[in-house]
């Protein structure tokens, strides 16, 4: 029990040190605090995006799924996102960064409000982002708190573990803003990716290597664990719609989009996109292999018991020093996402909901206070709103996908209007929640096919697309009135909206 907490203490000290250094480097402008001065170069941008993208679900949940479903888990997710995420960086990230600079926007909601010349679009976008991000953040806190609880053998109650995680992420985020979160993501990403690769390598060597493990697993159920089935999520409409959801949802995370907006230059985004597939394989392949190793070593786990595979391998198979790093790796994955979410939601509250502050320092201070408010809301959702980690995350993923048509068309279709944006968001979310209500079965609603074998997220996406296009035709872009233009562009750095 001692060694993991020694590593944990070192990790906490490192995070706070980075936060302090980032705070000293930071200027006093909102752009510096919220976007690191729009200066994220390729390496930091890559680690910031990848660290933010990867949650404890990959480290803990994926081995648990692979324990039951085998190698198919890798094929279900990695290939399609390895192509989809880089393409979405091009389709949305590249023009979003360009337009954000042109319009002086610091948050995704602010960007689209300015692009479409309608504050209501910003408020609606903020509301949808908030609706899906808060429960998603609560799942991260839950995952981290559980890890601390088990690592301390029950000595650290869940409520204290979760509070510690939230408080620490809030502290270094408040100190250094986006710069602190990006720098800490470099450390965190290196930690959890390094751990996963080492664990899969060392773990298999302890039992005769991967060839022996595959040979033994090939004899289980006629090799079912080493092939892709054609039922459930792995075939037909469910496979198609899951592929759609998983590949389009990432760019629709506000905390991902804002990092692309903060890129130093356009080539940085392209370089990151070309690196992304390699990183996905480097993280997901060990996660799936650990699940298979767990199946080989600890057969007989039922249902969600398989989520313990990560902890079992860390504690019983890996050498003590490496195994002790497992706890830090999970917490790194938790915090690398949580810090970006805290900062992004705080910045949106500060710039999209409130009236613009007249002073740069006031705006930054307000961003810090709103980070605290968001952390408090996450705590409440985590403690008092029921819902399993898996179902909350799946609903959030499906919900974000309803924003994809607006995020794309708002930047790349000149006819896209505020009316279309609002209609798309309303219709997409209406269709999604109606379908979620129709879903029946033991699996989470967002993962249950409803009509024609398609998942609710696919219907949300289709309805949002139709709503955005139809709404833009029905309510075309209006000419900008001087009063609206002046109101919206009165925010610092914002040129006229016309």
């Amino acid at each position: 029990m001692t060694l993991p907490f020694v590593f944990l203490s070192l990790y906490v000290v490192a995070l706070l040190a980075i936060g302090v250094v980032a705070a000293r480097r930071a200027g006093r402008s909102p752009e510096d605090y919220f976007l690191a001065g729009s200066g994220l170069g390729s390496v930091v941008l890559f680690m910031a995006l990848f660290g933010t993208n990867c949650t404890p679900f990959v480290l803990v949940g994926v081995p648990g799924l692979a324990y039951h479903d085998g190698l198919a888990v890798f094929g279900l997710n990695v290939p399609i996102v390895a192509l989809g995420i880089p393409l979405s960086f091009w389709a949305i990230g590249l023009p979003a960064r360009r337009e954000a600079r042109r319009l002086g926007a610091l948050t995704p909601a602010e960007l689209y409000a300015r692009l479409l010349d309608h504050r209501g679009v910003g408020w609606a976008l903020f509301a949808v982002f908030f609706l899906y991000t808060l429960p998603y953040m609560a799942t991260a806190v839950e995952g981290g708190a559980r890890s601390l609880f088990f690592a301390s053998e029950g000595g650290l109650p869940m409520v204290w573990g979760g509070s510690l995680i939230l408080g620490l992420a809030l502290l270094y985020t408040s100190l250094g803003g986006m710069r602190a979160t990006a720098w800490t993501n470099v450390l965190q990403g290196a930690l959890f990716m390094g751990f996963m690769v080492a664990a899969a390598w060392v773990g298999a060597r302890a039992v005769g290597g991967w060839s022996a493990v595959f040979e033994r697993l090939g004899e289980v159920d006629g090799g079912r664990l080493l092939a892709r089935p054609n039922h459930g999520l792995y075939g037909g409409g469910a496979l198609l719609s899951w592929s759609l959801v998983i590949s389009l949802t990432v760019i629709s995370f506000p905390h991902m989009l804002v990092r692309l907006i903060a890129a130093k230059n356009a080539p940085s985004i392209r370089r990151v996109a070309l690196l992304y597939p390699f990183a996905l394989v480097a993280l997901w392949l060990p996660a799936v292999l650990l699940g298979l190793l767990g199946r080989d070593l600890f057969p007989g786990l039922i249902g969600r018991e398989s989520d313990q595979v990560f902890a079992m391998i860390s504690g019983e198979v890996l050498p003590p020093t490496l195994g002790a790093l497992g706890l830090v790796a999970v917490l790194a994955a938790v915090m690398s996402t949580l810090d970006a979410q805290l900062l992004t939601l705080g910045s949106m509250l500060s710039r999209d909901v409130m009236r613009p502050a007249s002073d740069n320092r006031v705006e930054v201070r307000r961003g810090r206070w709103f980070g605290l408010v968001v952390a408090g809301m996450v705590f409440v959702v985590w403690r008092y709103v029921p819902g399993s980690i898996f179902s909350s995350a799946a609903v959030a993923f499906s919900g974000y996908v309803t924003l994809f048509p607006l995020l794309l068309l708002g930047l790349r279709w000149q006819r896209c209007s505020a009316g279309g944006a609002l209609a798309g968001m309303a219709l997409g979310n209406l269709a999604l929640w109606v379908c979620l209500g129709l879903a029946e079965g033991p699996a989470p609603a967002a993962m249950t096919p409803v009509l024609g074998g398609l998942l609710p997220g696919a219907f949300g996406f289709l309805a949002a697309t139709l709503g955005t296009i139809a709404g833009s035709w029905l309510w075309p872009r209006r000419a900008v009135s001087p009063s609206v233009s002046n109101t919206l562009s009165s925010r610092k750095g914002g040129p006229p909206l016309a």
Binding site: L83, A266, V281
Partner: protein, 112 residues
Amino acid sequence: MDSAGDTCALAGAQGKPAVYQGALVSWTAKSHHGSVCVPRPLVLFALIASAMGLLASHFFVAPGPQAVFWFLPGELAFRLLWVALATVWLFFFSALVWRREEPPEEAEGGES
């Protein structure tokens, strides 16, 4: 930049999108850089067709559990090969399409 609708493959890969005045040129034509240029519609067709092929194989190909490469099961070997091909596709896409959208003044931007 896109007015002529042509892509100079070699120059594009070096970050210098070709600019032509006038209509489409044959894909065997030579640019003033001396490199072979391909009509943009053909480039786009090749990219879209290959992407469709990749996607179709992702959805419809499901190898069995037998080891096909050393000890790698067919399913894993196929998905890894797929990601490798997707990465190659992305490289061509970035050279032929993506770079044309980047502001010229940022083409050789520095790092942090």
